[in-house]
Symmetry: C2
Subunit: 298 residues, 2 copies
């Protein structure tokens, strides 16, 4: 099987097209890696890059991108609406196919070490790669942002995992991590009552006592005059898409509201949907090796 | 998107391992093609080869395999339990990914023409590639088998589509065609009564007034003491897997019999199962381009 890792680095430049292209070029240049998407937000002054490939190639592309960003971006003059702490702000590695989370944690460590040692940038490992529980959540790591890190880094609790124990003035600090692929999945309800969507969202999501890997909120679809439970499934292997779907449906029943449709936003690994087919069709002993397209990727 | 065509040639040698390996080697040698499987049946004295790849490479591999079989197999002395008319008996081309049926018909014509002209073997186009309605069904084309073809080929109605108008004594004749991928899908019932499985099979299958692209029969699973509706779905894009599944379930209800599971035998294109997830999750406006693995195959 072909090992596939996804990487979604965010860097702190969303306006200067020349700089953005030069940084993204570092991904295009690496053989074995495919650039899937990059999109810049001028208000956030930030660009999100998505690429995928074999583990070795992805490591090279992630490092090269970070290096180029450290050369072209000066955090001392950066302004933007999105929380950020570095020129390359976050670098998550995501297992897609025939790669374990542990392998992605190892990739995060290797790339983090190179960024720290070769680029002289303080690096914090986060999510599944975190070395301490309080570094799991990216928001906690990034708290204080670039400006606050000159103090925060002196705190023994916030000693970087790799790199210098003082802030890099030009490049800031970088969070490198491993996480499960995120599936953005929304369920549409046959009502215009936003309160119902909100109530269901609160029930199915983790913080409300619902499913472990679901974040959810109610959203109004003005044009269609219906509402939607908008979800982020942060680990589809543990909290399957069909389970979130069926739970929304079940909760909607108490209001006599039907599910009228759903939508998948953006990309997702085929297994997230194949798992649903397996459930509904009650397939026994299915193996992903039975998928023709997987065989050609061997 | 990467264009993927599957080819499943059957050749008339299932005993002599040396000959079998030499013929299969012709597939292994071609770059851009992946050998997925080959299995020989000694009673049938026949081997089924499965490979997949880009259209150009698949054409080359299919022709080279047929050429090698024409050199190493002598139909004048061939015996076997399975109906056959040539050294390479049938060569179907199957659209898997980003290839239309029309493209596979064109491939069948090109490869058929080469087999006819360069190898001097009479070629009949069948299934979706057939040039006359009575040649659609492979069984009709092959009727009379190798031995009977010396007469059959003289009939104006059975003039070959390509190649000589007389039989090739050593290699026989070859059927070359295009067809949809076949999905072998069985639904297990919570009863040991084979009559119920038989009755349901007769209802869901095409010849019994059921779904257009379903062949079905009842099968007893002795070890588990249950029965099964064993189906071949001959066009999953037109008769979706979930539709066959739900129809079996619906018919089982009249006997008060539950569906206790199902199984997919062998390989299938990912879309056959993704389509089912789309149905059950009620996903709107889904595109196969949202599948990460498809993007890497571009």
């Amino acid at each position: 099987m072909a090992k596939l890792v996804e990487c979604v680095p965010n860097f702190s430049e969303g306006i200067n097209k020349e700089v953005i292209e030069k940084i993204v070029d570092e991904v295009r240049k690496v053989e074995g890696v495919k650039l899937l998407d990059y999109s810049s937000d001028t208000d956030h002054n930030r660009t999100v890059v998505t690429f995928i490939g074999n583990p070795e190639a992805v490591k090279v592309a992630a490092f090269n991108l970070t290096k180029k960003a450290s050369e072209l971006i000066d955090m001392a003059v950066h302004k933007g609406g999105h929380p950020r702490m570095g020129a390359t702000d976050v670098v998550p590695f995501i297992p897609i196919s025939d790669v374990t989370m542990d392998e992605c944690v190892e990739i995060a460590r290797e790339v983090g070490k190179r960024i720290g040692e070769e680029l002289n940038i303080p690096v914090y490992l986060y999510e599944n790669a975190a070395t301490r529980p309080e570094r799991t959540n990216l928001a906690d790591v990034r708290k204080g942002q670039y400006e606050g890190f000159f103090e925060k880094i002196k705190d023994e609790n916030w000693k970087p995992d790799f790199g210098p124990c003082e802030m890099n003035v030009k490049s800031g600090a970088t969070a490198v991590g491993a996480r499960a692929p995120l599936v953005a999945f929304n369920v549409n309800l046959g009502t215009s009552n936003i309160e119902i969507a909100d109530k269901i969202a609160k029930t199915v999501r983790h913080i409300g006592g619902g499913l472990r890997f679901v974040k959810a909120m109610g959203v109004k679809l003005e044009e269609r005059n219906i509402v939607q439970v908008s979800m982020n499934l942060t680990n589809y292997e543990k909290t399957a898409v069909y389970r979130a779907f069926e739970m929304v449906k079940m909760e909607a029943q108490r209001y006599g509201v039907p599910v009228v449709g759903s939508e998948v936003i953006g990309l997702l690994p085929m297994k997230a949907l194949i798992d649903c087919a397996e459930y509904y069709l009650q397939i026994e002993n299915f193996s992903m090796d039975q998928i023709l397209e997987k065989r050609i990727m061997e």
